[in-house]
């Protein structure tokens, strides 16, 4: 049996939650699918205060924003939330198949918003398969969701926001953070996060990398070394750092497979960190009625993901004819917010990525 759905939102993270709420507030009926057993996405483990402005809940901790959004979704009569529900495929005829409780569901949505987020990248070096080598996301889940101290002594790879924030949270959990190593010449994350770590005594080593890991059956230490301007390891700079955990925070890549499957045009755009669907200014892909919001269309801060979710949700409402005047106002407001969030020096990369998307769109 095929179930008809008015608005299908795939993914219950910051973008998906905001998209569902925006569409439902306008009067549309929404089915929100979440693969995990609880909604919230990465917000559930963000114990730091968010940046941005009041409209993106700045100053509030990420998990508190998640709780707030989930409460609103649960209380909303126009939204049905389905957890433990994994989307398996999107077909040319518009049918979406879902695995839920060992059952294969078939949905026929009028509009779909993909908000599947991103996956962590990995790093290649000898013995990188030793137990004790984690992605930063896993460490954060162990600590902040499971309440488990994930390590005694850790080396963090990556001084972007995730590497800096997870290092800080490990310090808070009582883990000894030996150092943060970063291959780039500069710290990529917010400098206030870096300063916070540094004044707690954690060195941040730029132009350093992991040469290899070692250990008998589990991680016992890593060999770090310096890099030259051409990214080559400098012989003689090796440093042996004993540790029981190595944490990798070397970037994210968009989870755009569903958009591919549905036939949306995707392109590799370096500044957006991978293959991304080419979307218009309302975040609609090249497939009519199929939208993308959040990290799936380019890696950015969670604040922007929430605004993109709102933008896509209201754009869908306009397209369906719900509360059009107000929804259009909200679409325009969300666009203006995104311009503001991306207008500073830290937004240079995302602006360049979006410019490339616009150029590709023009070529079609």
């Amino acid at each position: 049996m095929i179930r008809d759905v008015e608005v299908l939102v795939i993914g219950g993270g910051p973008a998906g939650l905001c998209a569902a709420k925006a569409a439902a507030d306008s009067g549309a009926h929404v089915l929100l699918l979440e693969r995990d057993d609880t909604p919230g996405g990465q917000l559930v483990k963000q114990t730091h205060k968010f940046f941005g402005s009041e409209r993106q809940f700045a100053g509030t901790r990420g998990f508190q924003i998640g709780e707030m959004l989930v409460d609103e979704i649960n209380a909303h009569e126009n939204i049905e939330l389905m957890t433990d529900a994994t989307v398996l495929g999107m077909y040319e005829d518009g049918i979406v198949t879902v695995l839920k409780d060992e059952k294969h569901l078939k949905l026929r949505p009028v509009k779909t918003i993909i908000a599947t987020g991103a996956a962590e990248k990995f790093l290649t070096f000898p013995n990188n398969d030793l137990p004790g080598i984690y992605g930063a996301g896993a460490v954060q889940t162990l600590m902040n969701v499971g309440g488990v101290k994930p390590a005694d002594k850790v080396v963090m790879v990556g001084a972007g926001n995730i590497g800096l924030i997870v290092s800080y949270q490990m310090l808070q959990a009582g883990v000894e953070v030996e150092c943060v190593v970063e291959a780039l010449p500069n710290i990529g994350g917010f400098l206030v996060h870096a300063s916070k770590l540094r004044r707690a005594g954690v060195p941040i080593l730029t132009r350093w990398t992991v040469k290899e890991a070692y250990g008998n059956g589990k991680l016992e230490g890593v060999i770090l070394c310096q890099l030259d301007d051409k990214w080559q390891q400098i012989p003689g700079t090796e440093k042996d750092v004993p540790c029981d955990t190595l944490c990798l925070a070397v970037g994210l890549t968009p989870l755009a497979e569903l958009a591919w499957q549905a036939g949306a045009r995707c392109e590799y755009i370096r500044e957006l960190s991978g293959h991304v669907p080419i979307c218009d200014e309302n975040l609609m892909t090249t497939v009519e009625g199929l939208y993308c919001a959040g990290d799936v269309s380019g890696i950015e801060e969670a604040s922007s993901a929430m605004v993109e979710g709102r933008l896509a949700g209201y754009a869908v409402a306009v397209a369906l004819g719900y509360d059009v005047e107000n929804a259009q106002k909200e679409v325009d407001a969300a666009k203006a917010e995104l311009v503001e969030l991306r207008s500073g020096p830290m937004g240079g990369k995302i602006r360049a990525g979006i410019a490339k998307v616009e150029q590709k769109r023009g070529e079609a």
Binding site: K49, S53, L191, A194, R198, R199, S343
Partner: protein, 167 residues
């Protein structure tokens, strides 16, 4: 340099430090926020409208030395934990430095804590004058430490735990 080790330089600090004349008048907030990022909760947090950000949310904050009374409200509100309050009038030889703190255990008033500078180096043991919670939702503590005047622009944190009792 700040951009590759996380430690603000003297040139960075020169942009945000109040004049000596103002420092000698009483407590004032110092925003050690040097990077243009999209963030502005400090502006709304200030009950005295002493913090401004122009032209937009991406600018770094500016503290009006005449309006700021050093009330410390902004210290727990800044998401970057980058605002400090320095009171050079604590006593003849000492200053009171207030900074945000998010570790356990939290020191108690009267205990001695090990002060750390911006590089995390130990600067000595100093009395805790105040340890105030930012609230149930905010969860950041504001710790005020009494340090010798010459360390007022150095001490920016304490080592978590190992606090000593009394003098």
């Amino acid at each position: 340099m700040l951009i590759n080790d996380g430690i603000p330089t003297a040139e960075d600090l020169a942009k945000v430090l109040p004049s000596e004349e103002r420092l000698n008048k009483g407590p004032i907030a110092i925003t050690e926020c040097f990077q243009e990022i999209a963030c502005n909760p400090c502006v709304a947090a200030c009950p005295h409208h002493a913090i401004s950000m122009e032209p937009d949310i991406n600018a770094t904050p500016k503290v009006d030395p005449d309006k700021c009374i050093g009330c410390r409200v902004c210290v727990a509100k800044c998401p970057g934990l980058a605002i400090f309050v320095v009171d050079m009038t604590q006593s003849e030889g000492t200053a009171a430095v207030t900074f945000p703190f998010e570790y356990i255990p939290v020191p108690e008033k009267g205990q001695l804590a090990c002060g750390l500078n911006r590089a995390g180096e130990e600067m000595g043991w100093f009395p805790v004058l105040r340890a105030v919670s930012g609230g149930k939702k905010n969860l950041t503590y504001m710790i005020t430490l009494e340090v010798p005047k010459e360390l007022a622009m150095e001490v920016r944190n304490i080592k978590a735990g190992g606090y000593r009792d009394g003098k």
